[in-house]
């Protein structure tokens, strides 16, 4: 298949760039002792309550505290997503199914390991913790290997593209502390390579699945990824963050904001780019996403 050959070529090129731009992650950031408590740490427009009556009810100090707790929540989500994807990629690093990609996978794991370190360092230094995940790991459902990998790498691509929308918007948001801007900027830059690879891989896997797997399996994979999108979007609504921001009635906030139509519209806007790509390769499932 043409798309597989092209994949190796793309991976080789991306690895070369990654190696030529290598700089130790320990030298990439200056970590202040503490961050100012009177400024946003995350763009307010990206917080889970924005554009809802909950946001309007909050005092300015409460809004600021929410951006701070949610910056730690967002970076914590990244930590857990990376843990999962390093596992999946290392499971495949020397399998016969992906010959020619081992070098790229090594670079990918190294970069993701570094990302996990800077995200976690921010969380622990300024938030005092990495928020735990609100679920537990599970394998993708049994299917033809092309379909199973389509689900696994589809999940990775969805998470990377979604977080990248946030990173890109915050990379130059001067309302945020420099270290927060810089983390978003560095991650946005390096993720552009992972996303380029992820899209190429998804195209190849989808071609393979269309040739070799049962069409009903492919449809089920589309619905599986649609459910994953809903779950990913909801992980930004963490009651523990509302508690830490000392918001009034923290346990009822998630339900209230998720019922507000502006949130569904926001979800659609941040997933738009990824869904357009899925449409382009012909992956089904978009209509079953619970926004």
């Amino acid at each position: 298949m043409k798309s597989w050959g092209h994949l190796e070529e793309v991976a080789g090129r991306l690895s070369a760039i990654s190696r030529s731009q290598f700089q130790s992650v320990f030298e990439k950031f200056e970590w202040p002792e503490s961050l100012p408590s009177d400024c946003y740490w995350m763009s307010p427009e990206l917080t889970s309550c924005y554009d809802t009556p909950v946001w309007d009810r909050l005092s300015e100090p409460e809004q600021i505290r929410l951006t701070q707790a949610e910056s730690v929540n967002f970076f914590s989500l990244n930590v857990h997503l990376i843990r999962g994807l390093i596992g999946e990629v290392s499971d495949r690093i020397y399998t016969t199914r992906y010959p020619g990609l081992s070098d790229f996978f090594h670079d990918f794991i190294r970069e993701e390991n570094e990302h996990m370190w800077f995200f976690a360092t921010f969380c622990q230094s300024y938030g005092g913790k990495v928020y735990p995940t609100r679920g537990f790991d599970g394998a993708a459902p049994a299917a033809h290997e092309s379909v199973r990998d389509l689900m696994v790498f589809g999940r990775i691509l969805i998470a990377e593209e979604l977080c990248d929308v946030y990173n890109a918007r915050m990379a130059n948001d001067e309302r945020l502390p420099l270290v927060a801007q810089r983390i978003n900027a560095v991650h946005h830059e390096e993720e552009s390579r992972h996303i380029a690879f992820g899209r190429q891989l998804m195209t190849a896997l989808h071609d393979e699945a269309r040739e070799q797997a049962d069409p009903s399996e492919l449809e089920a994979a589309g619905r599986y990824l649609a459910r994953y999108i809903s779950v990913c979007l909801r992980s930004f609504y963490n009651p523990s963050a509302y508690v830490d921001a000392a918001l009034p009635e923290p346990l009822s906030i998630r339900g209230e904001v998720l019922r507000h139509p502006s949130r569904a519209a926001f979800h659609q806007s941040v997933m738009e780019r990824t869904l357009k790509f899925f449409d382009r390769i012909g992956l089904p499932g978009r209509e079953s996403i619970a926004w």
């Binding site: 735990p132 995940t133 609100r134 679920g135 537990f136 790991d137 599970g138 394998a139 459902p141 599986y224 459910r227 994953y228 809903s230 779950v231 909801r234 992980s235 609504y237 009651p239 523990s240 508690v243 346990l251 009822s252 998630r254 339900g255």
Partner: protein, 92 residues
């Protein structure tokens, strides 16, 4: 507040993707076999927390807690009675 079987079933049912509307929910059946996989369980956790106004602590976010409807009921029951106790303490 009480965790009645009916209320729990109302929360669980939409997440049991492999259970038809006409079928009885067996509280001892494995939730995985009813379609509550690792993705659906995240949605279920949110639905439970919102319905019962509790937060499920990380120690309870395990496959054992979400093994069957009955194990979920037991876990949520313990949280609801704890939050009732603390509300009562706050009142007295």
């Amino acid at each position: 507040m009480q965790v009645s079987l009916e209320r729990m079933e109302n929360v669980l049912r939409p997440h049991c993707r492999l259970l038809n509307a006409s079928e009885v929910l067996d509280f001892d059946a494995s939730l995985v076999s009813l379609g509550v996989d690792s993705i659906e369980v995240v949605q279920l956790i949110i639905a439970i927390e919102d319905e019962f106004a509790v937060q499920i602590p990380p120690r309870l976010l395990t496959a054992e807690t979400f093994a069957t409807a009955n194990t979920v009921l037991a876990a949520v029951g313990s949280l609801v009675s704890v939050s009732e106790d603390s509300a009562q303490e706050a009142r007295s």
